[in-house]
Amino acid sequence: MLLLALCAASAVQAAGTAAGTNIQSAAQVSYSFGGTSQTATSNTVTVTVVEILDAVVTVAGNASVAPGDTQQELVFTVTNTGNGTEAFHLAALSAGLTGDQFDPVLATNPLWFDTDNSNDLSAADTIYVPGSNDPVLAADASVRVILVNDIPASAADGQRGRSQLTATSRTGAGAPGTLFAGQGDGGLDALAGTSGGSAAQVGEYIVAGLQLAAVKSQVVVDPFGGARVVPGARINYQVVVTTTGSGLAAGAVFSDAIPANTTYVAGTLRLNGTPLSDDADGDAGELVATAAPQVRIQLGDLTAASAPQTLEFAVTIN
């Protein structure tokens, strides 16, 4: 509860004073009159903080794809950097963007909310339907959005294809300073902020002729010193990722679901022998502790020259 309150306070700070706040001022005067001290107070003046409409969209890295791949994801974050609560309209665009060599093809349902925060399209995620479930974000709040495209078979090795997510304030958008009289929070005025109330970000698909292969092996250790698969037994997994072909696998991420009826053993994640923490923090690995937990390791940019990457983690059988 305390933590929540602190978070809320710092969020308001970052976005500026909250829309609807009344700033009030009154002065006092003291003086003396024939030796008698007197005081008086002025009128109280109120200045009301109006709503500022602002948004920022960021993308979590590029996606490595192969020609003809379908349902390829880019993960974006939309943040309300204004000072009020605002609904945002989301739009996806892949055709005709400059700076790329091919056009990805938007999926039938191109936009999804990453409801389970897995950074991946999964069963728990929700389709975005414009005008129906536009995300409503408090000041400084954000939502993760997955943009899905198919990659044309004609895309060639090393080519880039761009896809863009645009978030636009439902109150309105326009040049910075555009006034939306009486349309802000609580019937206050709203003004387009420095973003104009609309923000866009481009993500890139990079075609890599590079193939990644993962070979998984396991060692079972039962509580009795044997190797029987019984409740309580531990399974040590090792996965070796190797590269073949040419080109670049930009921002390669390895993820592996924790098998059903097993439990991840905390602190067992390793990359090339180096322990990684389970938290989503500075290091490359994390345990994504959702209903369907998975381990994720960022392998970075891989090429054919990259050494095999050895990943390890352990589970126990429930």
Binding site: I23, Y31, S32, G34, Q38, L188, D189
Partner: protein, 161 residues
């Protein structure tokens, strides 16, 4: 404001009724205004600035606060001191407090008033000068008395957080 005004009227009426003569009356009328600086083109076609009343503002906007004092009584008012807390959700703009014929002091807590450059803060890293956002009170002290009918104003600028 409304209540204070009524009180004053009430006290004045009572004083008249019981004929206390020199009893406590509010002789200084104090008025606060909030304005914003606006750039406009004047009749000569030049860019100029003027102050316009403001009732709405955005984070980052500057508000010019003016406090006007007038001596309504027939005797001089001495040792006039105007005090104004920097409003909540606002940060004082450094070196903008002014008032002709006043000595201006500042305070972090509303108790200890010092010149701006004499304000210091002690924290874990030691003692340092106070930052503008830490200054929460301003006080203007007049060196000379307000003659009957005299008017003066003090002013400062602050930015919406």
């Amino acid at each position: 404001m409304t209540i204070a005004f009524r009180n004053r009227g009430f006290v004045a009426a009572m004083a008249a009724f019981v004929s206390l003569g020199a009893a406590a009356e509010n002789c200084i009328e104090l008025t606060t205004t909030a304005e914003a600086e606006q750039t406009y083109t004047n009749e000569q076609g030049q860019q100029a600035t003027r102050l316009v009343p403001v009732v709405k503002a955005l984070p980052g906007d500057e508000v010019v606060w003016t406090v006007t004092a007038k001596n309504l009584c027939s005797k001089p008012a001495e040792h006039v001191v105007i005090a104004n807390p920097v409003p909540e959700h606002m940060t004082l703009v450094a070196n903008t407090a002014m008032g002709i014929g006043t000595q201006i002091t500042y305070s972090l807590d509303g108790k200890d008033f010092q010149a701006a450059n004499a304000l210091s803060v002690s924290d874990a890293a030691g003692t340092r000068s106070a930052r503008p956002e830490e200054i929460r009170h301003i006080r203007w002290s007049y060196g000379t008395a307000f003659t009957p009918g005299a008017t003066a104003f003090v002013r400062y600028r602050a930015i919406v957080d």
